[in-house]
Structure formats: C-alpha cells, structure tokens
C-alpha cells in the first residue's frame, strides 16, 4: 500500500483534488490516489469558462466504471481554461493525473485559500490512513 504518487510541489484536499499555483493562476486536477480508486475514468463533466466557484463548491464530475464523483474547488476563483482534451480522452487522467490530466485553470480570487490545504507528506499519510 501507499504506492501513490504525490508530487511535493502540489497542494492537496481531503476530497483528493490537487492544486498547482503559478502566480495568480491555480491549475486543478485529481490525485493519483483518486484516479486509482476510481479506476477507469470514462467521462468528465467540465465547467464553463468564465464561471466562478467558491472554495469547497463542486465544479465538475468525474465518472468511472465504478462511481461518479464531484470535483470540488480547492480554492475560490474564476475558470479561465478547461482541459477540453478530456472530453474525448478522459482516460488521460488515469495515465497522467498531474500532467496531461489536469482539469481546469482558475484565476485565484483569494490566494490565501490555499494556505490550509494539505502538503504532499500530509496528503500521502491521509491516503495511507484510508487503506487500513
């Protein structure tokens, strides 16, 4: 157990989203643990560009052969870009959750939102704790 990739430079939520901050922009996706638990992802519902979301609000859905899961905003912000490649190839999230499998880019409305997110070590421990 505990074999999930959790890149050190990212922040994580207990709902298994990751956040990469690049200046005023936050790139968001779901973690390696999340894609592993969901198994083969078959559909991703993306938000509209321009939509705004509060931290903790659901902005999309990931559907796999096992389950459909909401994706929650790790921080508040406005959607400036969505990964439209996922519409035809949602399985990219399984193959490359932190790279080509990114889901949305937010313009951060409140950058301090990210302060209470988990760092990689805490998130990795949280993943392990759920695998008894």
């Amino acid at each position: 157990m505990g074999s999930w990739n959790t890149p050190a430079e990212l922040k994580y939520t207990k709902n298994d989203e990751w956040l990469r901050i690049e200046g005023a922009i936050g790139i968001i996706g779901i973690s390696d643990y999340a894609q592993d638990q969901l198994n083969d992802i078959v559909f991703v519902e993306l938000p509209e560009v321009g939509a705004t979301f509060q931290k903790g609000q659901s902005f999309g859905v990931v559907e796999s052969v096992k389950a459909a899961s909401d994706i929650y905003a790790p921080v508040s912000g406005k959607v400036i870009e969505v990964n439209t490649a996922l519409e035809d190839e949602p399985e990219v999230i399984n193959a490359d959750p932190y790279g080509k499998g990114w889901i949305v880019k937010f313009e951060l409305s409140n950058p301090v939102d990210a302060d209470d997110l988990l760092d990689a070590a805490a998130y990795a421990a949280y993943c392990d704790s759920r695998q008894s």
Binding site: M1, Q37, N39, D40, V42, F43, E63, V65, K66, A67, E91, R130, Q131, S132
Partner: protein
C-alpha cells in the same frame, strides 16, 4: 456458447403467427405514416421460443441460484403472489372502469394502505409512487410543500449521511434542495457533532437510510431525530431496508415524518428486470394532507357486518399531485397484499429476524477471511472489503466476477463509497444454512485463489458465454446497433 441476435435468425417470408381477420371497420392509415421498409425479424414461433428461453437460461435469477446483492433484497418471490396477480378479477381490470365495478380492487388497495401504515407506525399511506425513487421524490416534495405553505422558504438544505442510499442525494437535488453530506463516526453511525453543527433554520429536513448501506441500525437514532426536529426540519426515512425491521421497529413511532417502502424488496414483488417496482409513501399527521394521490378511502361505511363499505379514490386535501397516470402499479399491490396476508404479523416478524440472523451468520463466518470494517451486530446486510493486504492487484471486482463461476450472483460492489473495495452482502431470509455455508466456502476458496492463482480472479468469469466484459467501452461507446440505422430512425 452465445446466441445469435434474433435478426440473424431471420429469413424472408418466415412467420410466427397469423393475425385473425379484422372484426371492426377498417380505417385507412395516414399515407405519410406508411412505409415499406419496416425492419423486423421474420422468424417462426419455435425460433422465438427457443431464442428467448436460451437467453433466459444465460441469465442469473433468484430461482436459479444464490443472489446476495446487497441493498436489493433479492429474496425468493413466492409463486403464490403470481397466482393471485393473475386472477382475472385483478388481471383484466381497466384503469378507466367505473369505480363501482372495481370495488374488490379498491378494497385490496385500502387494506394494503392500512397494513403498510400499521407495519411502519405511520398514520396514512399512498400507493401511488411507481418505485422507490419515486417514493423518495414524493416524500421530499411533501416536505417542500409543507415548508412552503408555512412561508418558511429559507429552508433550502437537506442533510444526507454518507451511508445513505445513492438515490437519496439525487432525490434531494431533483426536488430543488441542496444536499449536505454528513460524515459517519467510527462506528458507522451519523457523526452527531457534525449533525448538530449542520442543524439550523435553513435545514428543510434530513434523509436517512435505516438500516444504513453499511447494514447498521443507526445507534443514536432518537438523538438524530431530535436534533433535526429541534431546528424545524422534518425527518425522512428511506425504508428500502424495511426487510430488517418488520415487527421490530416502527419508524413512525420513533418520530419520523415520512418514509417510503419498496414493495419489490420487503414484500417480495419481482424486480430486477421482472418489475415494475412499487414505492408507497407513509406519513405522520403533519404530512398526511400532502400525500400524492389518488388514495383509496371509505366513501360509505358498511351498514352492518354482512355489508361491505363503498370505497372510492380521492386526492388528499393539499396533495403534491399525481406521481404517474392512474393508481400506482396495481399488480404489485396484489402481490404485496398476498405476501402480507400469507405471513401475518408473526410471519413478517420472522422474515425480519431471519434476514438479520442470516446476515450476521455470514458476517461472523467471513470476518476472518475478509476485513469487516464496521464489525458489529448488523441488520439484514453487511459490508466487507474485497481486497487483501498481502495481495497486489486483486480487487472487489475480480472477486465478484469469480463468484459467477461458482453460480453465485456477485454482491453489490464499490458501494457504499465510504468502504474501500466494498462488497455489500445481503443473503435475505429465504436462504437456508446449507446455501449460506456453501457461500462461505466459495468466498474462502476465492480468497485462497487470490494468493495462489490471482489470474484466475483477474480473468474471471470463465464459465459464462462471454468472459470479462469491457466496462470502459460499454460506458464510452453509447451507440450500439448491429445493423445500419435506417434513415427514418435517424
């Protein structure tokens, strides 16, 4: 061995049945609706019979084997129910018949309403909802109308524990409310501190599945009900798991305001392709005026004991309206009535006791082989984890598929979401000890195979006409047609 599609059996000019001569005046069909390329298979009656019998033999059914599909209550459906539903006086009714000519059917519906109220401890029942999801929907619509009529429109949230049926948050959302998920505590009960923190004057109510999808009876149910009532919310109980509670607990007396039944679970009416379902709603005094309709009432009491009352259909005073055309799925009412009548009060109590006993027997027999995350006395079902700490890459799905090779229908898998690799097992009361013991042996065999021959699980099933199906392709490729789609259908 696979069976060809019925289109592949077709040969030009072959026919199955000869239509009788027309005995009513013939009316010409509108010319624009006529076509000469109607693409139907041309097969003989014998071919049709054999084709569909073969398909049915490939299926798994409770009449063929053990079916511990958690949450679904796949118990034996007595053939007696079917005999009763086929009585011509029931089977040949037309829903538009004059009410005076269907007094027997109305008497049956009235009596079933009364019994369902008695079993659940509620004041009134409507048989209108067509299935469980519609029962849930009508219950939440009643809660909505109750608050609306009081002008209490700031109540926009409904609390749903994370051990609830997956339909519960969907129902809440469909009824226009916001679903607020509540965590479970270490025992699998509702986290009371989180519940109390969520209770305020924006809460319209709470929707709780009892026993939960973990198969557990909520440990502090009275505290939960009190907390929600104290903030002005109403309590909805998802009664799909009433199979565990008959004669033991009456939800209406615990303080719940509304509950739905699944007649196709608790009262053995067919489901899983053999349906339709039926999802009556039961309510206390507060919600009685809002019941979906029509409901059956006594219009004129009997004048003496040799007389029968006159029954009639009526819409409750402030009804949320109809859930479907006509009067619910009447054929299911007949079957459920027959089941309750045959069992009587003592019989129904024994149904629930044995359902609970069978589940606990399996839980204890399996807990040394499969991890039971909430290992306490369960109700009618329990959840194990379908993976092993010492085996890589064997999942609940592989165990489920391997069970098929042993003639057992897989348990519900990957639900509830709060248990990793969940296998939800519900044996029901209609299985004997030998069947349960065989299941235990099979589950132990599979656990041993996972260590010695894991590929046997990963590539299962091996004994079916087609082996492991491509679930990803099934979910992604939505247009399935074995032949070119004709132009008129595009």
């Amino acid at each position: 061995m696979t069976e060809p599609l019925i289109y592949e059996l077709s040969a030009a000019g072959r026919r199955g049945a000869l239509l009788p001569a027309i005995d009513v005046p013939e009316t010409a069909l509108p010319a624009e609706l006529l076509r000469d390329d109607l693409d139907l298979p041309e097969v003989s009656e014998m071919q049709v019979i054999r084709h569909f019998v073969k398909l049915s033999q490939m299926n798994h059914a409770i009449d063929k084997g053990f079916y511990p599909l958690g949450s679904c209550t796949m118990k034996y459906n007595p053939k007696f129910n079917e005999d009763m539903a086929r009585l011509p006086g029931f089977a040949l009714l037309h829903p538009l018949q004059d009410q005076d000519s269907v007094q027997g059917a109305l008497a049956l519906m009235y009596t079933l309403q009364t019994w369902l109220a008695e079993i659940s401890g509620f004041k009134a029942v409507s048989l209108a909802p067509a299935a469980g999801a519609q029962g849930e929907f009508s219950g939440i619509l009643m809660i909505r109308k109750y608050h609306q009529e009081r002008g209490d429109t700031k109540r926009t949230k409904i609390l749903v524990p994370n051990s609830a049926h997956g339909t519960n948050p969907a129902t809440v959302t469909m009824a226009g409310f916001q679903a607020v998920e509540l965590p479970s505590d270490a025992n699998g009960d509702v986290d009371l501190a989180a519940l109390r923190a969520a209770c305020d004057d924006t809460v319209a109510g709470m929707m709780i599945t009892v026993p939960s999808t973990l198969g557990l009876f909520e440990g502090h149910i009275l505290d939960v009900i009190r907390a929600v009532h104290d903030c002005g919310g109403l309590m909805y109980m998802d009664g799909a798991n009433m199979n565990a509670l008959m004669g033991i607990v009456k939800p209406g007396e615990l303080g719940f305001d509304v509950m739905h039944y699944n007649l196709h679970k608790t009262f053995s009416t067919p489901h899983g392709g053999g349906g339709p379902g039926s999802g009556p709603v039961a309510v206390g005094d507060k919600l009685k005026p809002y019941l979906p309709g029509p409901v059956v009432e006594i219009v004129e009491p009997a004048s003496d004991e040799d007389d029968a009352p006159l029954y009639g259909l009526r819409m409750p005073e402030k009804s949320i309206g109809r859930m479907k055309a006509f009067y619910g799925n009447f054929g299911m009412h007949v079957r459920a009535y027959a089941y309750i009548r045959i069992h009587g009060a003592d019989g129904l109590y024994n149904v629930s006791r044995h359902a609970v006993l069978n589940a606990n027997y399996l839980r204890v027999k399996l807990r040394d082989t499969y991890r039971v995350p909430y290992d306490r006395i369960c109700a009618h079902e329990f959840v194990v984890e379908g993976h092993f700490p010492d085996v890589e890459n064997v999942h609940a799905l592989d165990i489920s598929k391997r069970l098929i090779d042993f003639g057992v229908h897989p348990p519900t898998n990957y639900f509830p979401l709060i248990v990793p690799e969940a296998l939800m097992i519900e044996p029901t009361e209609t299985e004997d000890k030998a069947t349960l013991d065989n299941f235990v042996e099979v589950m132990k065999t599979i656990a041993a195979e996972a260590r010695e021959h894991p590929d046997r699980l990963r590539s299962a099933p091996h004994t079916t006409p087609v082996s492991r199906l491509d679930e990803v392709r099934a979910a992604k490729q939505l247009v399935l047609c074995c032949r070119p789609i004709p132009e008129w259908a595009e």
